[in-house]
């Protein structure tokens, strides 16, 4: 059983999602059944991911050859500490989002719960696979689920945002295939560590082609991750999506970031000979400008959800900086920040939606509107979320940014990293305090009778579950940092990965 643990996170949402399309779960009247099933599926996924994490902590990397076709020929799933951690992150985010949707937003469309499962299927698959074409397939699975989820709840704004999102991602998928075709034509393999072996042995003319293929891949991953200049779709898309969907999308950009970390550390990493770290000179400036533009966007936003969308862009830029530093310490800091930023931006999208519900037609726009009914409750949630994302102590954002600052080693790196991250944090604080004062303190005096319903206990529990990550990640900061340290060391240890796959013995 334990051998098959690696594929379970993919099988559970696949089978569960398909079953939810069939009776007794199908049909508009059976929504209660679907809710119970969705909750049970998430419990199963969280249990599996925790088991997977424990397993990889004991055994290091876990290899799973699908259909028992051994590497480099078959499709290989590979769970190391990094992918196990991200699978668990995905399942927790999914649980929070689903709990929130139980308040009623899951009934706006027929297939909300199955689609959430398919979305997570694609996300887990992208984290666990060790084959580039398989990665493409899982990307498409998560994308087609996200196209439909983005339409959940309907409305003009959603259709317009979805049009851009779908077209951009279809072009991205074509580019992905072009890049894969190029790399396969040159190296003759799609297995990530095998490609790392082959890339180092290429002739100079073939190196150029491999470089072209690798650069095209960066465009694809950059589009998913919302790296400059491919980030313009993100704020409008996230602001248009319904709250649980936007919160779930918080992990989608991180899938792109994960792929950049994985592919450009293993395939084009230190071991790649002439092509070693070929994209780092590109990522440096783009990461910095991504942060700057995201911060400016946050200051200029007219509603809370666009503001949070821009903060997602800032967090992607910060993660790319930790990638560009190219040390295991920086990667470890980035992984900690990734955990924190995914959960907190997810929670903030949910909080923005609750605020919007209680402000009538003004929604979450920064205008004077009626007083929020549950000011104390929502205010506390908002201030915790805002302090965390801005990086104020004692919450996890502070810790995350602190270890990123520490991981910058040389003087030039320190100048750039310190000034950019600290300045953008200051601007984030300004943007968020402006948002908070308008939303909570500036209300019209005349009309104080608020007829809006209170937020449901499901909504509170979903948001609190995600927000709880903030104090918890600070409290258990030591052990989490230790874990991400190990995960980063393992990620950077390419010869070990090649050894696990036994590629050298097989190649001879």
């Amino acid at each position: 059983m334990s051998v098959h643990l690696v594929i379970l996170p993919i099988l559970i949402p696949l089978i569960g999602g398909l079953l939810m399309l069939l009776p007794p779960f199908a049909g508009p009247a059976k929504y209660q059944y679907r809710r119970v099933a969705a909750f049970a599926l998430f419990i199963a996924q969280i249990t599996t991911s925790i088991a997977l994490m424990q397993m990889v902590m004991q055994n290091d990397g876990m290899l799973y050859a699908v259909g028992d076709w051994q590497p480099p020929f078959g499709i290989i799933l590979y769970a190391d500490q990094l992918s196990a951690m991200l699978v668990m992150l995905g399942s927790f985010l999914g649980l929070g989002v689903t709990l929130y949707s139980f308040a009623g937003s899951d009934r706006e469309g027929k297939y909300f719960h199955p689609l959430i499962q398919f979305q997570l299927l694609g996300i887990y698959g992208a984290f666990l696979t060790n084959d580039l074409f398989n990665l493409f397939v899982f990307f498409e699975v998560l994308l087609i689920a996200s196209y439909t989820l983005l339409m959940h709840g309907e409305g003009k704004q959603k259709t317009a945002a979805n049009m851009h999102y779908v077209i951009l991602n279809l072009i991205g998928s074509s580019l992905f295939l072009f890049a894969l075709g190029t790399l396969y034509g040159i190296t003759g393999t799609l297995n990530i560590p095998d490609m790392a072996l082959k890339i180092a042995q290429l002739s100079p003319s073939n190196q150029l082609i491999a470089q072209a293929g690798g650069s095209m891949l960066l465009v694809v991953f950059g589009l998913k991750a919302a790296m400059l200049p491919m980030h313009y779709w993100l704020p409008s898309t996230y602001a248009a999506a319904s709250a649980p969907v936007a919160a779930l999308f918080a992990i989608m950009t991180k899938v792109g970031v994960y792929c950049i970390f994985r592919v450009y550390t293993v395939v084009f990493g230190d071991e790649a000979g002439e092509l070693a770290n070929m994209i780092v000179p590109w990522v440096w400036p783009m990461a910095i400008i991504t942060i700057i533009l995201g911060t400016i966007g946050a200051l200029a936003s007219t509603n809370l959800r666009t503001l949070i969308g821009n903060l997602v862009v800032v967090s992607v830029g910060t993660l790319l900086i930790t990638f560009a530093l190219r040390t295991p310490e920086a990667t470890a800091a980035g992984l900690f920040y990734l955990l924190h930023s995914t959960l907190i931006t997810g929670a903030l999208f949910l909080i923005a939606d609750m605020l919007g519900q209680q402000r009538g037609k003004a929604l979450d726009y920064f205008v004077i509107a009626r007083k929020i009914k549950q000011q104390a409750l929502l205010g506390i949630l908002f201030i915790i979320g805002a302090m965390t994302i801005a990086g104020l102590p004692p919450f996890s954002g502070f810790l995350g940014k602190l270890i990123i600052l520490q991981s910058a080693a040389t003087a030039t790196q320190q100048i750039w990293v310190w000034s950019i991250i600290l300045l953008s944090s200051l601007m984030t604080i300004i943007a968020l305090s402006r948002a908070g004062t308008t939303l909570f303190w500036r209300y019209s005096q005349s009309n104080n009778s608020n007829q809006q319903p209170s937020v449901s206990k499901w909504q509170i529990s979903g948001a609190v579950l995600l927000l709880a990550a903030s104090p918890l990640l600070s409290l258990f900061g030591g052990s989490v940092v230790e874990y991400t340290d190990n995960a980063a060391t393992q990620l950077h240890d390419v010869p070990y990965l090649i050894d696990v796959m036994q590629l050298e013995e097989r190649g001879q």
């Binding site: 074409f133 397939v137 498409e140 087609i144 196209y147 339409m151 003009k156 259709t159 317009a160 979805n162 049009m163 851009h164 779908v166 077209i167 279809l170 072009i171 998928s173 074509s174 295939l177 072009f178 894969l180 075709g181 190029t182 396969y184 034509g185 799609l190």
Partner: protein, 121 residues
């Protein structure tokens, strides 16, 4: 054969890219279709082109790489589903937004690009 193949892929890609840059959904959808055709041909060629080799070991001295064929097949299936989705979505956008512009509204300066004597004809 290689030259012909390269020209096909190149023309399809450039037509696809050009059409994707247009303002209305119909041309963008056609552009995406062309791009996916180009990508399928390109993937197929990544295993090297040859005319008479079987994809089975032992049937002839040289053999064709079977993997690009499998990749192309997967890419065709996925591409087909995605194009079907984008067709439905653009019809929905036409209904919801009242026009067929990708941006959801007619650009303010679009009359600059349309010949003024079009109505007379």
């Amino acid at each position: 054969m290689e030259t012909l193949y390269v020209i096909c892929v190149g023309v399809l890609t450039s037509c696809g890219v050009y059409l994707c840059l247009r303002g209305r959904t119909f041309s963008v959808v056609v552009g995406l279709t062309m791009l996916s055709y180009a990508v399928n041909l390109f993937l197929f060629s990544s295993g090297r082109l040859n005319l008479k080799d079987a994809a089975i070991l032992g049937m002839s001295e040289s053999y064709a790489d079977p993997l690009p064929q499998a990749l192309t097949l997967t890419a065709i299936v996925i591409g087909f589903a995605m194009i079907a989705f984008v067709v439905i979505l653009s019809m929905r956008a036409r209904a919801d937004l009242g026009n067929d512009f990708v941006d959801g509204s007619e650009p303010a300066d679009s009359n600059k690009f349309i010949k003024p004597n079009r109505d007379k004809a």
